[in-house]
Symmetry: none
Subunit: 414 residues, 2 copies
């Protein structure tokens, strides 16, 4: 038996009065026609799930750690390593990874945290940092990789490196580059801070005189003459899913952070051309690739990002459009009629259009498949899910439940 978990990012919402239908309001999920999602609900079991814990607002990373079955409080170690994994860097146990921004500094003060939203030229600049070494710690390897726009990732590898440091990003412009300081009284935290401060200065020296920046200045553009380090972290120390459940796991997730979590828990990435994570993402290609992946993997995870983007943008029409895209994606999975496929659909958190940020409200979950005892819920939305048979669940319960259905759980006890 096989299972697919489809996560519609941020799709959960609150009551919107103008969607009211004579009532106090409806949520976008309630107000949008979703025949395929409703079919999952009708043929399955449903529930409202607290992704982390009631009242706790999930980030994208902690949410997915939880949805993959892990205790986020115990396993989450910061965004840096997850994002680095997600952009294709090999982050090993013991490595400390940072998210980085190419930024513009003038007389030590940050003018723009994104260096005028520099694009492809970023790669060329980062190339110049390759092979750099720390004088303070010659045995530390420094790996820097450009990802998109102003973004890059950095790994520190070697003995006595710690993620317990304040990073160098002052978080807003007009402030000087921060000096990293240790967050705990350990030799490794102290050493890591020293290295970060050294690299911060070294990178500035190299970037300042780089021809790309000379060209940018000539064009009246902001130079990308420094790198800000953020969110240092290590890879979560987890037993990977394939080992936990003795099954092969793959994922489709263009968003680098979610991809990073997926890699960290041992899933194999599946590239889907046209799956962009943006509004124009090719959801049909995602579905057909997921179906193909289900031929070789017992578990496939599909992440759908743009429902969250529409929510952050406060764009109701776009959110409803993205909900319909999710519904079409689900339709393709349903129509494939794979025997003994179990399909789970949920969100990683709610992002209400009125708030435009993540909130802690629980998310609707529906699971259908041959092994599922159904309930009376007929449609897929927040308030209907609350009446389903799955009660009091946390995000980390979903994977064990799915693995139970497809016969991949081991007995505890004898």
């Amino acid at each position: 038996m096989r299972a697919i978990l489809i996560v519609a990012d941020g799709v959960g919402d609150r009551l919107i009065p103008e969607l009211g239908n004579g009532e106090i309001g409806r949520t976008p999920l309630e107000a949008t026609e979703t025949p395929s999602l409703d079919e999952i609900a009708r043929r399955g079991i449903n529930g409202l799930v607290d992704v982390i814990r009631p009242g706790i607002i999930p980030g994208s990373d902690t949410a997915h750690l939880s949805l993959f079955g892990y205790n986020a409080f115990k396993t989450y170690t910061g965004r840096g390593a997850l994002e680095a994994l997600g952009v294709g860097l090999q982050v090993k146990k013991g490595d400390v990874a940072f998210r980085c921004n190419l930024a513009t500094v003038e007389n030590g003060v940050i003018i723009d945290r994104r260096a005028g939203r520099i694009s492809d030229e970023g790669a060329e600049l980062i190339q110049a940092l390759k092979g750099i070494r720390s004088d303070i710690s010659p045995d530390t390897r420094i790996i820097v990789k450009h990802t998109v726009e102003h973004r890059c990732a950095m790994i520190l590898r070697g003995p006595d490196i710690s993620p317990k440091v304040f990073s160098t990003d002052p978080k807003k412009k007009g402030e000087p580059i921060a000096r990293s300081i240790p967050l705990e009284e350990t030799k490794s935290a102290y050493k890591t801070s020293m290295i970060l401060n050294e690299l911060s200065e070294d990178f500035q020296r190299i970037l300042e005189v780089h021809p790309v920046n000379a060209k940018r200045r000539a064009q009246g553009l902001l130079p990308a003459n420094c790198i800000l380090f953020r969110g240092g972290g290590t890879v979560p120390d987890v037993v990977p899913l394939p080992e936990l459940y003795n099954c092969s796991c793959a994922f489709i997730a263009p968003s680098s952070l979610v991809a990073g979590v997926s890699i960290a828990v041992g899933m194999k990435p599946i590239e889907v051309s046209g799956a962009t994570g943006t509004y124009d993402t090719d959801h049909r290609a995602k579905a057909t690739h997921a179906l193909a992946a289900l031929e070789e993997n017992e578990f496939v995870f599909v992440h759908f990002k743009p429902s969250d983007s529409a929510s952050h943008d406060g764009n109701l029409a776009m959110k409803q459009k993205m909900i319909r895209k999710v519904d079409e994606l689900v339709r393709i999975i349903l129509d494939a009629n794979l025997p003994d496929l179990h399909i789970a659909v949920c969100a990683d958190h709610c992002t209400p259009l009125s708030i435009r940020e993540h909130v802690a409200d629980p998310v609707p979950l529906a699971i259908m498949g041959s092994q599922v005892r159904t309930d009376d819920v007929k449609v897929y939305d927040e308030r209907s899910a609350a009446k389903g048979a799955l009660q009091g669940l946390r995000g980390h319960d979903i994977m064990p439940i799915l693995m139970n259905f497809i016969g991949r759980q081991k007995m505890f006890g004898a």
Copy 2:
């Protein structure tokens, strides 16, 4: 946005056959008209909440620690310090506080644990103990304060003081005053026991010859000639609510124990004249003061005690009367129509009239407000709440959920 939490003490109950209405019985909440509470339920979300954990009977102190969002198992350190805080003593970190009784002793044996329910004269007696010092431990400060009737509180302050001691209250008359013994093999527990035994004797010596007691004897009253120490504890080591949620918090709670818990978690007391905690408490004054407090505080907690007293008294008519008082209190809050106010109503535990003691049955919770996705529950009572959208909650989930609604939660992760 703002939130108010109204706790109707002990209001939850069990099925009472004579309230049956042709059925197997009804609870007092089910059998009493509560239009205002029902409005909260109808416009909100509902659930049955296990205040501590399923099957665990909450005390008033542990219940409120949990309702304020803390793990009572980890943070509860005894009633003494909470009660001392509640009567206005400044209990500092490291202090060990005791609840005390003025009692009557004759030839070393307790004749009356409440010294004939001594009243105002207690204050004069306690005054005589002011400035007393321990010979065993001259660096220990001893602070004693009279509260009401035979009750007082004592703080031991100084190095190496421990709450891990048996106190001196034998719990019933006819027994000798107990000798405090250490509950763990530490220097500080041993020392604290020695001090308690010393003070027990010193206090007797002073009180025995006090003019108040001479007068009482002349009037044929029992002298208050000793002090029994009970329930030693330290202040709970918690991050206060205002720091956790970056918001201002106030409370209305005439009961000293609940007031103590409220102070321990960083809430500011609001005095309401006429709010007595007894059957004649001025519930309307509580409501209007709560509304005033909501102008300056993001969170206000209102405690309503006499529903519990009626339950302990086994008085059905009085319990129903107190339920109607709570309903009127809620009506005043509702009618104020404060925009974006989120209102939560629950109990701290159930006190069935048939049992006249706290039980572990879960309590009904209703939360209404602009950010709340409603459910189908139409009335506020135990069995209706069970059908609501809030499933599997513990008491400590309520605050995070409320803070999520009013935008005071921080995201966990990125």
